[in-house]
Assembly symmetry: C3
Homo-oligomer: 654 residues x 3
Amino acid sequence: MLGVCYYPEQWSQSLWREDARRMKDLGLTYVRIGEFAWSRFEPEPGVYDFAWFDESIAILGEAGLKVVIGTPTATPPKWLIDRHPEILPVDPDTGRVRGFGSRRHYDFSSDVYLRECERIVLALAERYGENPHVAGWQTDNELSCHDTTLSASPAAKTAFQAWCAARYGDLQALNTAWGNVFWSMEYRSFDEIELPVGAVTETSPAHRMAYRRFSSDQVVRFHDAQVKILRAHSPGRFVTHNFIPMNETGVDNHAVAADLDFAAYDNYPLGRTDLLMAGDDPEAFRPYMRTGHPDFGTFFFDQTRGLAPGAFWIMEQQPGPVNWANHNPRPAPGMVRLWTLEAFAHGAGVVSYFRWRQAPFAQEQMHAGLLRPDSTHAAAWPEIETVLGELATLDLEQNPTVRAKVALMVDVNAQWLGEIERQGKSYDYTHILLDHYRALRALGLDVDFVPPEGDVSGYALVVIPALSTPSAKTLANLAASGAIVVFGPRSGAKTLDVTLPEGLPPGPLRELMPIRVLSVETLRPDCSGALTWNGKAYASRCWREEVELAGEGEVLARFDEGGPAIVRSGRAVYVASLTDRDFLADFLEGLCAEAGVATQRLHKDVRVRRRGGLAFAFNYSDARTPAPAPEGADFVLGGAVIGPRDVAVWRDPS
Amino acid sequence: MLGVCYYPEQWSQSLWREDARRMKDLGLTYVRIGEFAWSRFEPEPGVYDFAWFDESIAILGEAGLKVVIGTPTATPPKWLIDRHPEILPVDPDTGRVRGFGSRRHYDFSSDVYLRECERIVLALAERYGENPHVAGWQTDNELSCHDTTLSASPAAKTAFQAWCAARYGDLQALNTAWGNVFWSMEYRSFDEIELPVGAVTETSPAHRMAYRRFSSDQVVRFHDAQVKILRAHSPGRFVTHNFIPMNETGVDNHAVAADLDFAAYDNYPLGRTDLLMAGDDPEAFRPYMRTGHPDFGTFFFDQTRGLAPGAFWIMEQQPGPVNWANHNPRPAPGMVRLWTLEAFAHGAGVVSYFRWRQAPFAQEQMHAGLLRPDSTHAAAWPEIETVLGELATLDLEQNPTVRAKVALMVDVNAQWLGEIERQGKSYDYTHILLDHYRALRALGLDVDFVPPEGDVSGYALVVIPALSTPSAKTLANLAASGAIVVFGPRSGAKTLDVTLPEGLPPGPLRELMPIRVLSVETLRPDCSGALTWNGKAYASRCWREEVELAGEGEVLARFDEGGPAIVRSGRAVYVASLTDRDFLADFLEGLCAEAGVATQRLHKDVRVRRRGGLAFAFNYSDARTPAPAPEGADFVLGGAVIGPRDVAVWRDPS
Amino acid sequence: MLGVCYYPEQWSQSLWREDARRMKDLGLTYVRIGEFAWSRFEPEPGVYDFAWFDESIAILGEAGLKVVIGTPTATPPKWLIDRHPEILPVDPDTGRVRGFGSRRHYDFSSDVYLRECERIVLALAERYGENPHVAGWQTDNELSCHDTTLSASPAAKTAFQAWCAARYGDLQALNTAWGNVFWSMEYRSFDEIELPVGAVTETSPAHRMAYRRFSSDQVVRFHDAQVKILRAHSPGRFVTHNFIPMNETGVDNHAVAADLDFAAYDNYPLGRTDLLMAGDDPEAFRPYMRTGHPDFGTFFFDQTRGLAPGAFWIMEQQPGPVNWANHNPRPAPGMVRLWTLEAFAHGAGVVSYFRWRQAPFAQEQMHAGLLRPDSTHAAAWPEIETVLGELATLDLEQNPTVRAKVALMVDVNAQWLGEIERQGKSYDYTHILLDHYRALRALGLDVDFVPPEGDVSGYALVVIPALSTPSAKTLANLAASGAIVVFGPRSGAKTLDVTLPEGLPPGPLRELMPIRVLSVETLRPDCSGALTWNGKAYASRCWREEVELAGEGEVLARFDEGGPAIVRSGRAVYVASLTDRDFLADFLEGLCAEAGVATQRLHKDVRVRRRGGLAFAFNYSDARTPAPAPEGADFVLGGAVIGPRDVAVWRDPS
């Protein structure tokens, strides 16, 4: 099913009915509204005006559309900020208050703001919670966007002290856990504790990790308060949230999503590709500038799918040029259709376009919609008509997403650790995760993302690029799964308080793997070393560990210096170096074969994904390319050769 | 006529008489003094000391020199700042007060400072306004230099609120005009309005544009107050201001210049070239490092000439190495003479060197003068002797500047828009303007700059790289002129409040041109597209518009994707893409031919300029190069072959 | 002798005795302790706890080790900062307070903090000053590290005003000396004087130079207060300080070291090389990424040796990967031994490793020690065993360091000038100094560093890359020495108040050299000019002076433009341009020959250094390389061919 994001408050009321009719005629099902409208819901403190919203919902509902209400808490109005300027967050890098004038100008630790949010959400939930046209709710909008998770406000400092007190109980426990003796950093009481910002040189990594965990908890606290109100007053309606790329939030997205029915993602393939490939040569970038990179969208789809049980939504889908990347090209013809089908192939339940009509004013006036500002059809319109017909053919309800054979474990602690303790300037957890993902996808594999303590039963292969602090539960799950488990370097590297584990890394991982990491070196990205596996030399990059095998185990690969580079013990494999995608593809291909997982080497611009009994193939290239389908496949869409920027779908008996 | 900048307060009084004699003997006419001497005019609050200035003027005047007094308002003294620290500006990017210790430490919105300036200017005007040696006045010095137009001070905020109230009258009008509903940015009263600084993410472009316009108006207000006093108390004397490069001020320079007799420019070819070519390869940069680029000086000369009716001045001319660019080479031998003649060719009335004697102290001690600190002749001296002789020959008074055949329209709103709403990171209005200028100059054309509502009568061709908000007056002027008018992309793109115009861009331009801009894409500079004109493919760069021809008109060129890239309707041409200088030269050459404007393709390092009955050619290269003069030309200076860094002048019958 | 840095407070008391035994068994002599332990010495305000330290010293001493106590003043505890937040420094670039949470969070101008430091140092000195196990003291730790010399605190401002009053006495003298008339920057009283920070554009160079000198004096004041207490209460013990690279402190290190017995240096070859070569191509960097660059360590050794009379120490020697560079590789096998021998060859008395055991917590947990966190031997251990045996063989006590034949004069005023008045963006005094050093070292020369007024008697050649303000004493010393003296450009360029000297540069240098510098140009590093010497063209880079020979003298080289590039008068030589190492090697080789100093062109990765009767050669390459020893040399260590990363030592009869 398809949907659209709509802002009735931005348009003359005279347009509403016609807009609703055209949405319905096009074939849309859902309409998200309300998410930035606080100044219209409550134009003066305590003075509510819901009449316009009542009517707007009625018009949409009567036209046969289902409404999703976004809570407006990403945009507190000016009067609220003027009354309570302490709501504003403080930039930890500069100490400057981040003011009114755009959006997300609030501090997750502000109790004042939390109460105000509870008040407005309650007002909406009470009024619309059982409205028959309301299908569900979106909390806030893109939590943590614009680097808002971290704040150095007085509210954040006080809350951090309380968080520390609750977590450590005893001040000496904190001093010991953090190693505060190191530079006379010891505290005598919790209210002496500072935020780890603005110091002369680097603060303790334990201190910074606590601040990251605390900040993540504050986002969860803020978010859960809304979910709780919506659950209480809107029975039978779903509650979701539209996530931005998971690595950009600085929070534990699994914790945020814990109480949601399903997660949603805002998908802007061209903007993301422009930013992610900003340092790439034009030869590398140009093929994808109007298509997006074939692995960047799905990397986030698959993560979003892993956040919550229900089929995820694309809450906002790019329909044309956007306004916020460094450069904003037009999608190549056919790409809006392709991206839409791709989302469904990866398990989406709904794809909702952002936005109905391009606004002629304010920050996003250069962001395309389905309609131009003058209400004429924008370029994406006919592609959406096409895709609606195709979706009818595919019968996706009968082809629900099933568990993949391969899981990729994503660890927010490892991401935080990599940001806090760089050790090597070019170490980047997200790029490492993406490299593993791309290698698996290039082998034609479907990939599920699982959090560290997530359910890994049923997987044949679990790939863990880095797992900084394996818990007993994680280790037990992995052992019980029967999967082959591949750990990357920096796994077991630290305790939760960012100290080296007892007996050296990989600490508790030694249950699976009798090794000790004796030392670590980091190298410039342009000065790699090598490792030899299977008689062939591969790059050993950036992060290299000196490993001692202290028990039963097999050395699968060695560094050029001679020491073990990959060690295997039973079904556990430890790769003691960062590598590259060439190595990962070769190495993981072998493990898949052993695990009975079929792989196929795909054309670099073709990607495959299965959903229920259907296999989808997406051709990102501008050339006709053979579909990676079996001989005699039964095509539901397209055929044995896929056109440029086209899609093929066949029945998959596997 | 030539002049020089002089700071008697920086030298022992014993030197003054001899200095004046040597200036006169050299052949100088004008001496600018006083511009930084506030702490000497008023060493204690309210205690004036003008005796030394009286004497200085008397000595210069008695030596036969004419004095230009600079008002000292660029350098408020310490006691004034200590008494009124609220005079200091606040950096909008950091929120930090910009303190005392250099110059320009004042806020254009400070009423306190405005009153203080009126007081000191009045004191000077009353004392020297009718002094027979005083020929004229320079207001302040290089207004807006060091990015001082924008300030985030409390004074600026209050003044901005008042400006908004005056402009919009009604708060709802402002909310509507700016589209404040977008992110609940609505205000309830004018005193709720913030400056668009320090917000979490980007503020509304309407808000930022208003802040830019307001800030420009504050500079004009500040400047006009001085002009008014000088006019009242110094009858018959000229009033001018020395501008920095127009794009660097962030103000509407035409508005600043509105009440001036003529505009002046401070010309530092090597410093400008070092900065403008800082990203260029050494092969590209080296030929110009000691000459300056042949189009960078005149680009500003021609703009300065367009600011006010009288013949412009070079108020400060670089005479040797300066101190403020990244690297500060020595001018090649002959360049000080060449630059001087070039300024006159472009219409200068006076060229005044900065400075008489190199200061041995303070910020500019590495900046050359006509004399070294020990009063010996610096390198430029003999070149100035030469040029004085040549000027006598050329009889410039009899060869006044006449209107060119080609005008380039420069639009500060388009510059602001490009800075506020980047859309494509590499979009740079000034570079676009410069590219058009360079293409025209490479065709041997004289170019006048005109503001959007300026007089365009008599031009055969008007080139408008971007005109963001065409007014009715502008359109009427263009229609009446009979000129061929070439619009670049982003013309008619916005209303004055930075919203998309009714019926899509180019809004009111549709009077001349029946097109609609359906969408815009921006591309990385290294990933251009193409357009085909006249059977040849050219680069279509950075900014590309999807255009629909909705009436009578001819498609002159098409994008590689097939849509119209250039549309013509009558004498109006719309180019829907940024291009490059190769295209511009070819395309504009054709239009010149049609318009009956003679062109000639010049050697890349040779430039031509006509003044009255004289044609000047400047050879920036280090090789002997043929003068682009007609067979049998009557040379007044030089001849048919121009030496390296040399000049030829011939009588131009055209 | 060897030592180690140890932090008993970071380990269970149960480990102390065993640690001491293992140190002794390894063969270590010295143990530095205490330097960051303020929060343990004084856990509550005024409540001292020295029992643990008493025991720690006793255990070490009884094991036969000598103790060096570091004063803990680099890490004031939280309670002290909370009581006196005015101790904190303020970042001059941002105006932000630099807070608690790491180290060095104090302002050198804080009288409160000075008193607190005197109190804690006195307490330590009284208690341990005559302890038989205590051999000496280290003041603070790495003074000025993390850019802490400059502060914009209120305390710094007040102290700066007092410093100005003391230095200039009369306000008019200051205004005149600084040239404050220039932009009406004149002050009326000392308490009007601002710090030269946060102004609109650049402040006066005189003002900034005064601030640099003042800031340096404040560090000296702070440091001397500790030395005085230690001298008074710890008779017979040495006092030293561990310096960071001299150019990074922003202070006059000779002044800091004036009252020390010897200076110490913290030597991290790989971290330094990673940072110093960060912009280099991988081909250039890779050979040294695990060895360090052959001239970067000794550049600082030789400077440290020149700071104080006694044999310098390496107080902290890198024993494995560190944690703080951009990338932190492992040392190549053998390098810890090589670096250790190299330090002794350059005159070290003791090399002390940082640190005994790798900490498993806090900021430096990724920094290697001699032991791993689990107390097993880290990689360096066997190399230290080897080096201890070799040191016994070499009998260094009998081979004390003697004065070299060549001196390099290092001038902190020239460094400050280069930072304050860049003129050419790529001008970098430290790189210029290093280039001269490298050229001399490539010729096989031993090099002493001398300060401007240092003793230069006995040198055959004194190389002075830049000496901004030659004093009468310096000139007299140089004249008396009989040495050939080579001055680089920018010598004699300024007075101490950063004004051009009377009669133009090189001011007082004209006593030795009858020249005037008429002008200066600076060039982009990729756009060099040329000079011709000895019939060959060399690069003339970045900084080029126009020189007039105004008396007796010989022009040794000319610029491509024709003017004198090198002038010689008697034994004084003036090079009027920056050049490159190729030129410097050729040119200095000739002067050495004239001065009777033997040179030899070394392999690029081999360096030689003499100590007493021994000659050491260090092979940084990974190939076997001939030792640059005479035929039939008597090898004490190694032989005629040096292995990769190996060392040879032979008896040197010279």
